[in-house]
Symmetry: C2
Subunit: 470 residues, 2 copies
């Protein structure tokens, strides 16, 4: 089936790849103020591209944090209005010494593009921008109304995205969200993701003395902040691997027979999964690995620090220690309740005399699920079946798209994930990569999806604009 828009895209693949590389060269790390210039640089590239493509209302949307980039084309009356979502910020590149090529100097090796953010989310985002640009260039119009929102704070828990939705509620009004973020589960199996876990990040510090003390002069008689930290962290889980924090599981329902049967039918080799990571299986007893990943909440230590960690030795009793934690949430949990439960646990277990400081350091989103009959979900399933030659399986994902929860609560619409990155592409780790084959698949699928959605009517979406969680 010949499509002039797709032809233009496939003919221009070299230039598309070069534009993606240009975007990846901007070190847009949102969590660390040292990367401010990279954030500005990425925004400027995107603003220029949207203006050049013929989008209207091209601008940044600001609510006190890193601005989002916005543009729209809304000249298809009667057709649905899609809020197309992606993000331009990326994870920190640490540990730098583990990268085989520099994180912000993208490099193609063996059919993969390597660089920080290529998979999460600059590659998938670029597919959306490129196909919208091609439609406007070839046909001077889009099949549906599109509002393109490119966030700058996804990697810091979408810190001010809620404020952006409130502040620009009218501008962003739409029938559904089509997300270019939210990686595909596996490279070997066509899937659509119908739900994700929520998350919330936190940090705590303890202080055991006014200053670091000599381990000989004082050792044996005073508390050591690192011993206390180890004890507090060890108290968070029981020996089986379940979270031992009181009220952590409050509101969480056990998976039902139907849900367990659905997961059990998905082809998945637990042993190969763990072996592929050179990892060690560990988790709540009584659940399969997929249940642990998709249906159960977690509390993970992401980092800790305290004392001397340089080369050699320093015989010190450290007076301070800290740890960063993230919880992944499932339906029934709220970020606030989980924060309160973990803080209460730490305060209850913190020995008398120690000073404990606890704070949220990262966003907070509830788990999300799209209704099974949503027309946009159905359309993506049809398109993936056509493009990949095999009907996709419905799956969930263990990670978080904070935007989906916010959009449901604040704009009253649902989100469908249509990303062409894959979960094994080492985002959030060294040597992040993006399969170049996914670029082709994505271009084909997005063009086909927009054509199919052009046959939808806006009123078809009315029954799903209820702001409830699916």
């Amino acid at each position: 089936m010949k499509d002039p828009v797709l032809d233009r895209l496939l003919d221009g693949r070299t230039a598309i790849l070069e534009r993606l590389r240009e975007l990846v060269r901007q070190p847009s790390v949102s969590t660390d103020p040292a990367y401010r210039e990279g954030m500005v640089g990425a925004r400027e590239i995107l603003l220029a591209r949207l203006r050049g493509a013929g989008f209207q209302q091209v601008r940044t949307l600001e609510a006190g944090g890193h601005p989002a980039v916005y543009g729209e084309w809304c000249q298809a009356p009667g057709r649905p209005t899609l809020l197309v979502y992606g993000h331009y910020d990326v994870q920190p590149p640490d540990p730098l010494d583990r990268w085989h090529s520099p994180p912000f100097a993208p490099e193609v090796r063996d059919g993969r593009l390597y660089g920080r953010g290529v998979s999460d989310d600059k590659g998938p985002l670029s597919i959306a921008v490129e196909i919208l640009t091609a439609f406007l260039a070839v046909e001077q119009r889009l099949p549906v109304n599109v509002k393109l929102l490119i966030e700058g704070e996804e990697e810091v828990g979408s810190a001010t995205l809620a404020d952006i939705f409130v502040k620009y509620r009218e501008l962003l009004a739409a029938d559904a969200v089509l997300s270019a973020d939210g990686a595909r589960w596996r490279a070997d199996l066509p899937t659509v993701t119908v739900g994700c876990r929520g998350d919330v990040g936190m940090e705590f510090r303890i202080q055991s003395a006014a200053k670091d003390l000599h381990s000989g002069r004082y050792g044996g008689a005073v508390a050591n902040a690192l011993h206390e930290l180890a004890g507090l962290l060890a108290s968070l889980h029981d020996a089986d691997g379940a979270v031992a924090v009181a009220d952590f599981y409050a509101g969480v329902t056990e998976p039902g027979a139907e849900e367990r049967a659905w997961l059990a039918a998905i082809p998945f080799d637990e042993q190969a999964f763990i072996a592929g990571l050179e990892g060690v299986a560990r988790g709540e007893p009584g659940y399969t690995t997929l249940e642990r990943l998709w249906l159960r909440p977690t509390l993970e230590i992401n980092g800790l620090s305290g004392g001397y960690s340089g080369e050699g030795a320093k015989t010190v009793i450290p007076c301070e220690a800290s740890a960063k934690l993230t919880a992944r949430l499932v339906p029934g949990q709220s970020p606030e309740a989980v924060l309160a439960a973990v803080e209460a646990h730490l305060r209850r277990h913190c020995p008398v005399g120690l000073r404990l400081e606890f704070f949220r350091n990262h966003g907070g989103a509830r788990a999300y699920q799209v209704p099974g009959e949503h027309p946009l979900l159905r359309a993506t399933e049809t398109v993936l079946g056509e493009v990949l030659g095999q009907a996709p399986l419905r799956v969930k994902m263990g990670s978080t798209l904070p935007m989906a929860d916010l959009v449901a609560s604040l704009l009253g619409i649902h989100t469908v994930m249509f990303s062409f990155s894959t979960a094994d592409e080492d985002f959030h780790a060294p040597n992040e990569f993006f399969r170049l084959s996914a670029l082709d698949e994505g271009l084909r699928a997005w063009v086909r999806l927009l054509r199919l959605l052009g046959e939808h009517r806006a009123v078809d979406y009315a029954g799903f604009r209820d702001g409830t969680h699916g």
Copy 2:
């Protein structure tokens, strides 16, 4: 009592302080190769001073690590030969942001000199060098034979000092060691230190997967190296604060009634001690604070690392974690046995599938005690009583002078500590300082001690040259 050597020293105090500051400006951090130039600089200053003073055999003594500085004056036949000991290396200055003035730009404030190494051991060492220099300048001779050995590896557990003693055994032959290192216990109480704990440093790393993993995509199903680290560290002590490592206390004898009575008679306010640190009392039940500090061994965590510890959050499951530990040892324990016990404990508690690497990272010395009747100890007690106007109390110290153990084993002689730093001077912590009043006390005491030792005969020491631990 007029003394021309002392007069010269007290008249030259300004120049003495300036020479001390020059030495402190050299960042001679032995544990970190980045400070190599500071090590070289400190050595060159000391070599030049010894040559200028009229010492003979001025040279470095090398055995594969940081060289020691050596010089001697041995023209007092029949008199004892003292091996005068000090060290020119210092602790790392971290955490740098806690210093009120830069660690290697020494500054006088309120009668104290601030800077890394001023108290441990460049201030006390300078007293010894200055008085020996003054004797040679005024009288062209010393009252006793002196071999001056200035080590460069005290802060890394005297890594190659044993090799130096073996290699230069003839050169270093002496009747006793007089140490300018080994701080005084308290500023408010004249004391002599008659024993110290030993120590050994170790480090371990665990690996739980081939790479860091996304906490959403994998969280709940795989081991997290930081959880495992916390569990291992928490297993090292029981809830009471005693070390829970099997065989750790093997060979340690309970304090006897006489020893407990001696410690109980020493004026010491436990509550004020802890409160002064803004600390929290913690230690083995059934012992007083002094018993915990002087008579009981410890196992302390000095530092740990793993995962993301920068600003903000990174939602990662870290695949690696590590910790540094130091044990302080008491009579009956050997560094090797304690290392073996801790390694066995970690291997036994390390969950199947995790990779564990364990290694010694810091020296290793047994505890040491000087015989109560040693003529050098008796002489220092006499001199301190004269100079300070009050007979000193015998005390022990919780920290380690690895040299004392090595000297006893390898040269067969005993060590008496005659330092004029004080244990509250924040060595091994930010804002290390040295009381300028101690400079005066030290100059007076060292001149008086050398005069008194000039009345001893070498043969008086023969009975104590047995190589046993006192």
